[in-house]
């Protein structure tokens, strides 16, 4: 429509420049006549525009996650420890044929030296969810400052809003290659912040 308008204006410009106003008026008149000839039915209506914005929202259940490395057996290395209290909830609408991913990275603090922190997502809970919820990446990611995929292939979906709705995340923390790196471990309390991101759909 815009294109047509621009062409018409361009023509109008040319006609005025060439001072061929009469020809132009005739042309417009003929167009009006033609239009009238086509308007033969008597129904009336209105254009109803329905818009579905693509959007995405992400939130966690803010479960406190505390992990402790400890052993109670002399001679044993500190055992790995896990926590699965965290759920990630999303709402997503995407254009047809496009997908989003949930990624995670560390934004503040760092994993204590000599240890590794991994994260893996379970499939979305089914109780209150619907749509195309994607597929968790099966291999746990070792968290770092760089975003890595946790769930891929997310399209239009919702996970539910309850405390235990969404993608259940499992953190696992333990010594990293203890035979070589165990000496790097130092007792202390560490706080790190993990950022979950739902990406723009891949049609962007």
């Amino acid at each position: 429509m815009l294109l047509q308008l621009l062409i018409l204006l361009h023509l109008l410009n040319n006609f005025i420049m060439k001072k061929s106003g009469l020809i132009f008026i005739m042309l417009v008149g003929s167009l009006l006549l033609t239009t009238n000839a086509w308007t033969q039915d008597w129904t009336a209506g209105d254009n109803v525009t329905l818009t579905v914005q693509d959007f995405c929202l992400i939130e966690t259940n803010y479960a406190p996650v505390a992990l402790t490395l400890i052993t109670s057996t002399a001679g044993a290395a500190a055992a790995s420890t896990s926590n699965s209290d965290l759920f990630v909830k999303i709402s997503s609408i995407v254009p047809g044929g496009t997908n989003r991913e949930i990624t995670a990275r560390i934004s503040s603090g760092s994993v204590p030296t000599g240890t590794a922190l991994t994260l893996v997502s379970a499939p979305c809970t089914t109780t209150n969810s619907g749509g195309i919820l994607g597929t968790p990446v099966a291999t746990p990611i070792t968290l770092s400052a760089i975003d890595q995929d946790l769930v891929i292939g997310i399209a239009t979906c919702y996970t539910g809003t309850g405390y235990n709705d969404g993608y259940q995340m499992t953190y696992t923390w333990g010594p990293d290659s203890p035979s070589t790196n165990y000496g790097l471990i130092e007792s202390n309390t560490y706080n790190i912040i993990v950022v979950f991101t739902i990406t723009a759909h891949d049609g962007n």
Partner: protein
């Protein structure tokens, strides 16, 4: 007229920009993790008793030859700039004899971390102050099976020549070594 076209073109461009702003791009959510590593300091032995015997088969020679091996298993997590030491005290060494110990760092593959430095030929004397067997231990583990850990090689012999006369035959005399792991500082 060209200005009008330009204005319409700009309006079109603004409309497209507005659409892009409305479409949400990506979203993030932060989550905080508390991760604690408390200090760990555990010491254990394989708990088997070590049998030593002093004897000789050659007339004219002094008795000798009592050797045996024990293992000390450790789990340690230290704070920054902290090290640990294993010390030993003893009671029950028979009169006229001397007991020495060599301490080797675990090396059988079940260990990891900063295991410190061992010592050799450290004399264990009844009632004497604690002697140091291993120094500068950091965060480490030694393994948990019976032959994992620091290797304590005991050597028992007749003591000073002047004390030889105080040796008496005995069976079942028990000496007890107490191992202690301590923080430095």
């Amino acid at each position: 007229m060209k200005n009008l076209i330009l204005i319409i073109g700009m309006v079109g461009a603004f409309s497209m920009l507005t659409i892009n702003v409305c479409a949400q791009d990506s979203e993030t959510s932060n989550h905080s993790l508390d991760m604690g590593i408390p200090e760990v300091c555990l010491l254990d032995t394989d708990a088997g008793s070590i049998s030593l015997e002093l004897t000789t088969t050659e007339a004219g020679a002094q008795i000798s030859g009592g050797t045996g091996t024990g293992y000390a298993q450790v789990s340690s997590i230290v704070s920054a700039a902290e090290t640990r030491t294993i010390e030993a005290t003893i009671t029950g060494v028979p009169a006229g004899t001397s007991l020495e110990v060599d301490t080797a760092i675990p090396s059988n593959g079940n260990q990891g971390g900063i295991l410190g430095s061992g010592t050799s030929s450290v004399a264990l004397v009844n009632g004497a102050g604690a002697v140091t067997l291993v120094t500068t231990i950091g965060s480490c583990f030694t393994g948990t099976s019976a032959t994992d850990g620091y290797v304590l090689s005991y050597t028992w012999d007749a003591g000073a020549v002047g004390d030889y006369g105080s040796i008496v035959a005995t069976t079942g005399s028990t000496a007890t070594v107490v191992l202690t792991i301590t923080n430095t500082p």
